[in-house]
Symmetry: C2
Subunit: 378 residues, 2 copies
């Protein structure tokens, strides 16, 4: 079962406020939405009538009458979201508040091309829906992250270096043809940033770094994901100063990614005679206090930090959140912090927080849910 969400006008805003947890009573909705209390009551009545909201007991008093707590009906619908990686797809179903109902990871070679990959994805969605969701609960939207740039205007993948066969493929159209629902297609780092943003309420400007096998980055500006022309957020191919000279996959010399990514560290360790297979292995070495590994992670952190100084001065964010598998190595974030604090303007670092990412492994799925909800309630 699939079905467009039947909301119009102010109903969407109210539903969104309940979904995101910003408000959970009529009075709270009135405060947050700016609508008059009377209007809120009317719209809420309609949303309850439509089966999208339910009244559930009463909340805690703020000094007067207790509010009647509102929450999304569990039957209001679900969202199907995924995050495509090079060899795996992480996918799941969320309720309309963005909370995961089920998440799983399936092997999936993105090099097999868009049709095969997206069909595998859709089949997995359909299976999960059949297994986990009563037929009466409709699917309301579909979204996926891809490991490459997405043109925000057309929702096509553009010049993806790691996705042969995907160039200019109309991902959104392909999914829409199957589901006829609001569809979201977004770069994976951007999704992660959007997901992370929900873990930092009140912070309007965030940089979210993903340091894993590669290096990704997304930016939240004034509370909204910054897309630019579709390529925004890249920092992996920034030139770093170095004595040596390494050629990056992108064709340039001395890219940050060629020095500070998990893949680069694995290669450097191999040269030092230490064999490691995955980025997690590097983290293990650091936790075992292997000096070479620790030193290399420190250097990587410093290099990332040096690039960040430029961006922190310019963008002046509230938070730099560092995630990705390599962020589990504690010296990484410490040395990023040291480089930024040493070199940035005091004004820019005065209230800046450089901290581990909070949203966890499902950050990208949560981000997809957050952005998709906006599309569903548009």
């Amino acid at each position: 079962m699939k079905q467009r969400l039947p909301v119009q006008g102010a109903q969407g805003d109210l539903l969104r406020l309940v979904a995101t947890g910003a408000a959970e009573s009529r009075a709270g909705l009135a405060r947050m939405s700016g609508l008059a209390a009377s209007s809120v009551s009317l719209r809420v009545e309609e949303l309850i009538e439509a089966g999208l909201l339910v009244e559930e007991g009463s909340g805690t008093s703020r000094g007067g009458r207790r509010p009647r707590r509102l929450c999304l009906s569990p039957t209001a619908g679900v969202l199907a979201v995924a995050d495509l990686g090079a060899h795996h797809a992480r996918l799941g179903l969320l309720d309309l508040s963005g909370a995961p109902l089920v998440v799983e990871e399936v092997p999936c070679e993105i090099t097999e091309g868009p049709e095969a990959t997206l069909d595998l994805l859709s089949d997995a969605f359909d299976r999960l829906l059949a297994e986990r969701v009563p037929p009466s609960v409709p699917l309301r939207g579909v979204g996926t992250g891809v490991p490459g740039p997405v043109d925000p205007a057309t929702l096509r993948v553009v010049t993806p270096s790691r996705m042969p066969g995907w160039n200019d493929f109309p991902v959104a159209d392909h999914l829409r043809a199957r589901y006829d629902l609001p569809v979201l297609v977004e770069n994976d780092a951007n999704l992660m940033a959007a997901g992370e943003a929900r873990s930092w309420p009140g912070r309007e400007n965030l940089m979210v770094l993903k340091v894993g096998t590669g290096i990704g980055c997304g930016a939240i500006v004034d509370g909204r994901l910054h897309r630019g022309r579709g390529a925004a957020g890249d920092i992996s191919h920034v030139r770093v100063s170095s004595d040596s000279s390494v050629i990056c996959a992108c064709g340039h010399h001395d890219c940050l990614e060629a020095y500070a990514s998990g893949a680069a560290l694995i290669a450097a360790l191999a040269e030092a005679g230490i064999e490691v297979r995955h980025t997690s292995g590097v983290v293990d070495l650091v936790n075992d206090a292997v000096p070479e590994a620790t030193s290399m992670v420190r250097t990587a952190g410093r290099r990332i930090g040096e690039v960040l100084t430029v961006l922190v001065n310019f963008f002046n964010p509230d938070v730099v959140a560092v995630g990705g598998s390599l962020s589990a190595a504690e010296p990484l974030i410490t040395s990023i912090r040291a480089a930024v604090y040493e070199r940035c303007l005091p004004l820019a670092t005065r209230d800046l927080e450089i901290a581990p990412a909070r949203a966890g492994r499902d950050a990208a799925l949560l981000g997809a849910g957050s952005l998709l909800l906006d599309a569903v309630l548009a």
Copy 2:
């Protein structure tokens, strides 16, 4: 005469659309505002009644009946705006569409402190109003740019390196006490960016560089000025790679400003035995094809370009506009362009335009008008 603009609700939006030139008929307003044509008619009627709009002949037909052209009444009001520099203040009066009525430059030492400077400014405003504006035309708002960071929450100047005595001074409150009108206080580079933005219709993401005695920068993100925590846009104290080592006024080594600003070039020329007093002198030397000067400007452009690569990859703007007195030296922009195009991701430079600023010497005043209009019509 001063007076808050008596607009409410949709009237403000409509007036703003006329003021910015986005629409000039009722039908155009309906298209741009999203309001129904009938509502537009009603509100426009009220605005004409209030003397803020006037009907002025008819516009050009788009295939049917000719629209009745609307424009702001010349008696609707004026804005008083200024841009404080280190030794001069540029100030003027604008009509509500943001067009300058009169602009002049007065000597003004910002080191004399906030009270003296702001009083000088206010006196100049009052004089211009008395001389140039009929008493029946009310002042609607006051705004100024300052050469230092401004906290967007409190509109106070914070830790300004070149404005001794101004730290934490409540500039906005001081002006509001005298005028009791909407007041704008903003960093000068940000004002320039806002002014430049109006010269690039349709472009939503801009970086605006001001290369003069110092180096300033402002960013327009999704059509709005990005403030961050008040320090956004700074690129002058980014570290550049260099053989030598120069100490900047900020206390760090090898800041961009210490290598690529007009002041740095004047110092470097002096070392080469060539005496120049102002940045304009450097431009003259370049235009006279003095090889040392040309070479130095090229190097400065390349250094600026190298810093820009990081920001262009990350921010992915539509336009980088280069202004400031040194931008008149043609090799500057050429070498910036070369550095950015050589090193940035193709996706980021695909539709990127790196061009001379269009807004001219009054850019900051125009920007102040643009931002102030938003405050006046809020």
